[in-house]
């Protein structure tokens, strides 16, 4: 059934991605492909994998953007910067990819809000990829079915895994802790608190998709001097020999 759930889903599982800390290492991209090529559904095929025109289906990609404030010149001091930008399915509440599906292969789960493709029903028409403004869906050219982020549904509910591993592969592998997984429908969850604290945003809100995944914008820069420890050291708790030396040296 490709109608969206009639009621808001009780859980809204999703990701929170911190653009301030992402270093653009692509580890999440690689681990996503690694896990999902052997996980849910058809393997993620590559075409011409060792040739010049290699391409394939990936569920998570890292783009890099250059942001330049008005009047600034890249390379000079200022706010101009590179922002690494990981992007995968945002598991939208108002997912346009779901309602356009003619076969019922695309659906949004009523209990946790995860958007999935039932590959046995997918005819590979590609209309859902057209409907998604974010480019979250990519056709697997070998299997002829649409692939997308499953939020690692075969990890997060997998009781044969250690508890710490029951998060999406991209989150588990991120060395910068830039990716967070949780229930964004629960205002008391860690991810919801993070979004509230850092002013998490929706991508392309004007498309009316109401994404569940949130992005934490880069923090405002402050001059290096603001962070440098120029205050005198606090030595009031020094005792014994070092306490005596501290006092003596102060007197000189």
């Amino acid at each position: 059934m490709t109608s969206l759930p009639a009621l808001p889903t009780p859980k809204k599982l999703g990701l929170v991605i911190d653009l301030d800390t992402c270093v653009g290492c692509h580890a999440c991209v690689v681990n996503c492909k690694e896990w999902n090529t052997g996980g849910y559904g058809a393997a993620l095929s590559d075409q011409d994998p060792y040739g010049a025109e290699v391409s394939g289906a990936w569920l998570n990609r890292v783009h890099s953007f250059e942001v330049v404030p008005d009047g600034e010149v890249v390379g000079e001091a200022g706010e101009a910067r590179i922002v690494h930008f990981p992007k995968s399915c945002l598991h939208c509440e108002n997912a346009p990819c779901v309602t356009v599906c003619p076969t019922g292969a695309s659906y949004k789960r009523a209990d946790d809000g995860i958007v999935l493709v039932e590959e046995d029903k997918c005819i590979g028409c590609g209309l859902c990829a057209w409907a998604c403004p974010y480019g979250a869906r990519e056709m697997d050219l070998a299997a002829g079915v649409m692939k997308k982020c499953t939020l690692c549904i075969d990890r997060i509910y997998n009781e044969t895994l250690e508890e710490t591993d029951r998060t999406p592969a991209c989150v588990r592998t991120c060395p910068a802790n830039a990716r967070h997984f949780g229930d964004l429908g629960d205002p008391e969850s860690e991810v919801s608190k993070l979004v509230a604290e850092r002013g998490g945003i929706d991508l392309m809100p004007e498309q009316g998709t109401r994404p569940v995944n949130k992005y934490l914008p880069p923090r405002q820069r402050k001059p290096l001097s603001a962070s440098a420890g120029l205050l005198p050291e606090d030595t009031s708790d020094a005792t014994g020999l070092f306490g005596w030396l501290d006092k003596m040296l102060d007197r000189i």
């Binding site: 490709t2 109608s3 653009l19 692509h26 991209v29 025109e53 391409s55 394939g56 289906a57 990609r61 783009h63 890099s64 953007f65 250059e66 942001v67 330049v68 404030p69 008005d70 600034e72 706010e79 910067r81 590179i82 922002v83 930008f85 992007k87 346009p96 309602t99 356009v100 599906c101 003619p102 076969t103 019922g104 292969a105 029903k121 997918c122 005819i123 028409c125 590609g126 209309l127 990829a129 057209w130 409907a131 998604c132 403004p133 974010y134 480019g135 990519e138 056709m139 697997d140 002829g144 079915v145 929706d202 991508l203 392309m204 809100p205 004007e206 498309q207 992005y215 914008p217 880069p218």
Partner: protein, 307 residues
Amino acid sequence: MHPAPSIILFTTLSGLGYGLAAMLGLGLLDPAHIATKLAHVVALALISGGLLSSTAHLGNPQRAWRALSQWRSSWLSREGVMAIATFVPLTWSAWLAVIEGRYFWLPGLLGTAMSLLTVFCTAMIYASLKSVQAWHTRLTPTCYLLFAIAGGLMIAVFVAACSGAVDRLLPAGALAALAAAWAVKVKWRMRMRELAPLSTQESATGLGYLGSVRLFERPHMTENYLTREMGFRVGRKHAAKLWKIAVSFGAVLPTLLLLVLIVSGQGGMPGASIAGLALLAFATGLLAERWLFFAEARHAVMNYYGG
């Protein structure tokens, strides 16, 4: 957007086929004449050919029957359901004309209404996509419907001429439909060219508050499914030329030829030749118009790939 040849062929052929079927359903042509009988068969062939070619771009065409299930939400599914349901009155009408040589209003009018509804569903597949701003307008289904009607009338003029009928009303109707179709199309294209983009690289990244955003590096060095499907550039490069081709063949030539037909009032061989030429030119122009429809449309996802 990448214009898949199968989809261009499908929308053009089935548009012409449904247009012809809609006109046949009105009973404008002599059902006893061999040309009209053939027209019924041609309409069904165009529609079936169009539908078959549309399955050519599927990854798993053997499951295409599943596409009939989601008519509650999906315009693609609605199109499939309507296409199959429309075969019922169309084959009924065709049977009556081909075998019994008569016209019956019930399957005729039903066929006309359902044919146009099917074309509307096809157009709504595109018009319903907010991610492709150029398509996301009521003008899209209006264009598709008017082009189908104009095409149907032009084939009807050809069929009437073949059956020897000297009729000025039918070519005049075709001319009016042609003018209406191109008027809406020009409006559609002007709207597209003047659109302020709904989404930008700033809104796509949420980084607009810092400054202007520019893609620094794509995720991968080579093309991927998205850039191939959504970032087609050949059509955009030649858009001005293609538009001229579409207008000259699809609008100017058929208009002149129809005018000749109206003024001269020729039936028989000369009339049929003129009408045939007009039809050929129109179909060529329509193919160019359909190619542009896809190739010129920009997809929101390209904001992540540098436009």
